[in-house]
């Protein structure tokens, strides 16, 4: 157990170092958003390195991965000295009562996960078994994925989650559930930090920020424990929605282009649903960038498109190649759109809003159309609406029993959006009832890169 926990800790640290090294400083980025973006970037880079080793036929393990990580870190180190690194924000953290409640919720989630009380059922059927198979194969076990025995395990899904499980098991020297399930604690913490950054960027008052952070953390703990979400991939999508929302709430520029690219790739690497999310995040972001760009700046848009799209293209391209090369695509993932299924799907979706472990919170999704009217939160509200529309499309087209399909998945899919929508709701209500005109937090003064200590 100790070795597996040490492996988990090392991988968490390495992924942060990779992301922090690769992302150029953005003076307007808060400390918490910097952490979130560093980890998201680092996890995607780590995954791309694993995919690279797999494509080269090199087995996963410290001997092959360490040189690859070292090369990237050296590139970042030298790159920092060769280029203009922008500026850094003061990075002050002011903690409040909401942060304290959020920390308590996180600790409860960690305790439940470490005790394996809330291990996701799909950890057994899907994510966990893939992780063990990949660990034994020291890479993506394509022959097993292509075999009939793996048909239940969604062989055509992207593999970020099981790859991280496998790497943890390889480096830790054993297959143990608790250390790999604790990856979910990282996603939980990052989602709370991203919610904090999103509230700040929406100009929420100090009370709304603290309350919003606490509500998001308690909601995550409530559902992730009650509905058994540890060790699954849904928490990654939740994180991508909130983190993407924080970027959509800021000013689009070249820094945001890069960050949005990594967030979209993170979503795409997590689940099939994440592929759709990546598309809508990038599309809404680029639309916003295009509308805010002056006529002279529109010439830079092709570069922005490349910056926001290439990480997702890399992740999705390798995934599509693997699916095609090994014949992994499952027929159950595609079907003809059939509107007549709405008679079953829509009532079941409403019934799922009342799933006991949710305590009614998914009803907040019903306000999404109204949030589209609020200019400041419109981009993220639009992304959430597009994601819901995608889920509805899947329910109306998948060639399986629609009632069963909704019953077994809708409550889980709501978890992708509920935390983000709660934040939007609180921020919008806060703004509507503010005593004085809401102000955007002042942009921290920029300091030249040369003045940054320790770099």
């Amino acid at each position: 157990m100790t070795a597996a926990l040490a492996a988990l800790t090392a991988l968490v640290a390495v992924s942060w170092a990779l992301g922090d090294g690769l992302l150029r400083r953005d003076g307007r980025e808060s400390g918490e958003l910097r952490l979130v973006m560093s980890w998201i970037t680092g996890l995607v880079v780590l995954f791309l390195l694993l995919l690279g080793l797999d494509l080269l036929g090199l087995p996963w393990g410290a001997a092959n991965l360490a040189p690859a990580v070292a090369v990237v870190l050296l590139f970042c180190w030298f790159g920092d000295r060769w280029r203009d690194c922008g500026a850094t924000a003061p990075g002050r953290w002011s903690l409040g009562w909401g942060d304290g409640l959020a920390a308590a919720a996180l600790l409860l989630f960690v305790a439940c996960t470490a005790l394996l009380w809330n291990l996701h059922p799909d950890f057994i059927y899907h994510w966990g078994i893939k992780g063990w198979k990949f660990a034994l194969a020291r890479g993506i076990d394509a022959p097993w994925l292509a075999s009939p025995e793996a048909a239940h395990a969604h062989p055509d899904y992207p593999n970020l989650v099981p790859s991280l499980f496998a790497l943890t098991a390889i480096l830790g020297g054993s297959h143990q559930e608790a250390p790999v399930a604790l990856w979910s604690a990282l996603y939980f913490a990052l989602t709370v930090l991203a919610a904090r950054a999103l509230l700040a960027r929406l100009g929420a008052s100090p009370f709304a920020r603290q309350a919003g952070v606490a509500v998001v953390a308690l909601t995550l703990a409530m559902f992730s424990v009650g509905y058994l979400q540890a060790g699954g991939a849904d928490t990654l999508i939740t994180l991508a929605v909130v983190a993407g929302g924080a970027l959509l709430a800021g000013e689009p520029d070249r820094h945001a282009d890069v960050r949005m690219g990594w967030v979209a790739a993170f979503a795409a690497a997590a689940k099939i649903e994440g592929m759709a999310l990546a598309g809508s995040l990038v599309a809404v972001y680029l639309l916003r960038r295009w509308r805010q760009a002056g006529s002279g700046q529109r010439l830079q848009l092709p570069l922005a498109v490349i910056r926001t799209s290439w990480p997702t293209a890399a992740v999705a391209g390798i995934w599509a190649w693997q699916v095609a090369a090994h014949g992994l695509f499952q027929p159950a993932n595609a079907g003809a759109f059939d509107l007549s299924r709405a008679g079953v799907v829509v009532p079941e979706l409403f019934r799922s809003l009342m799933t006991v472990n949710w305590h009614g919170l998914p009803f907040c999704l019903l306000v999404l159309p109204f949030l589209l009217a609020a200019r400041r939160v419109r981009p993220l509200a639009a992304v959430c609406c597009l994601q819901l529309a995608f889920y509805l499309y899947v329910y109306l087209s998948a060639p399986v029993d629609p009632r069963e399909y909704v019953i077994t998945s809708a409550a889980r899919l709501y978890s992708h959006l509920v935390p983000a929508v709660l934040v939007l709701l609180i921020a919008t209500a806060d703004r509507m009832t503010h005593d004085r005109p809401a102000v955007t937090p002042p942009t921290p003064p920029l300091r030249p890169a040369a003045e940054r200590p320790g770099r």
């Binding site: 409640l101 059922p121 950890f123 025995e149 309350a211 509500v215 308690l218 009650g226 005593d435």
Partner: protein
């Protein structure tokens, strides 16, 4: 502070209290289910990782595991439960035997395309099946080549 602001603060505090209540209920319920372990043997779809049925299955596999070389194909038949639930029990075996290629088998009538056969909670009779190991929980057979 305006009335609207007061209403907003009360509403957000209400939401916060509701979320805290829900969180407490879910953690309590999760813990209670862990210790009460109310799951039925016939419904593996409801089992949780630490339930007694999984522990028994794991102990059974621990006992017969030495006879199952890595990479071999293992067919699984089990009881009790509906066909859908028996399939889910096989998925637990897939998880617990990652080094083998475990596949679900309804009956021996479907063919014997496997190196070994596990009958969990049931027994099988077939001329090509030879008992390798047997416990109260189930039996491991070797499948003879045709």
């Amino acid at each position: 502070m305006t009335r609207g602001r007061t209403v907003f603060r009360l509403a957000v505090l209400g939401l916060l209290l509701w979320a805290a209540f829900g969180c407490t209920v879910e953690i309590y319920r999760c813990g209670w289910l862990r210790w009460a372990d109310p799951w039925s043997a016939a419904e593996p779809g409801t089992w949780r990782f630490l339930s007694g049925h999984v522990a028994r299955l794991d102990a059974f596999l621990g006992g017969i595991g030495e006879h199952l070389p890595p990479g071999t194909t293992v067919a699984v038949s089990s009881a009790p439960g509906t066909e859908a639930e028996r399939f889910l029990r096989t998925l637990w075996l897939v998880y617990l035997l990652p080094e083998q290629r475990v596949r679900h088998a309804r009956t021996t009538a479907q063919g014997l395309a496997a190196d070994y056969w596990i009958a969990y909670g049931t027994r099988l009779e077939h001329p090509r099946l030879t008992v390798v190991d047997e416990t109260e929980e189930g039996t491991l057979y070797r499948v003879a080549e045709r």
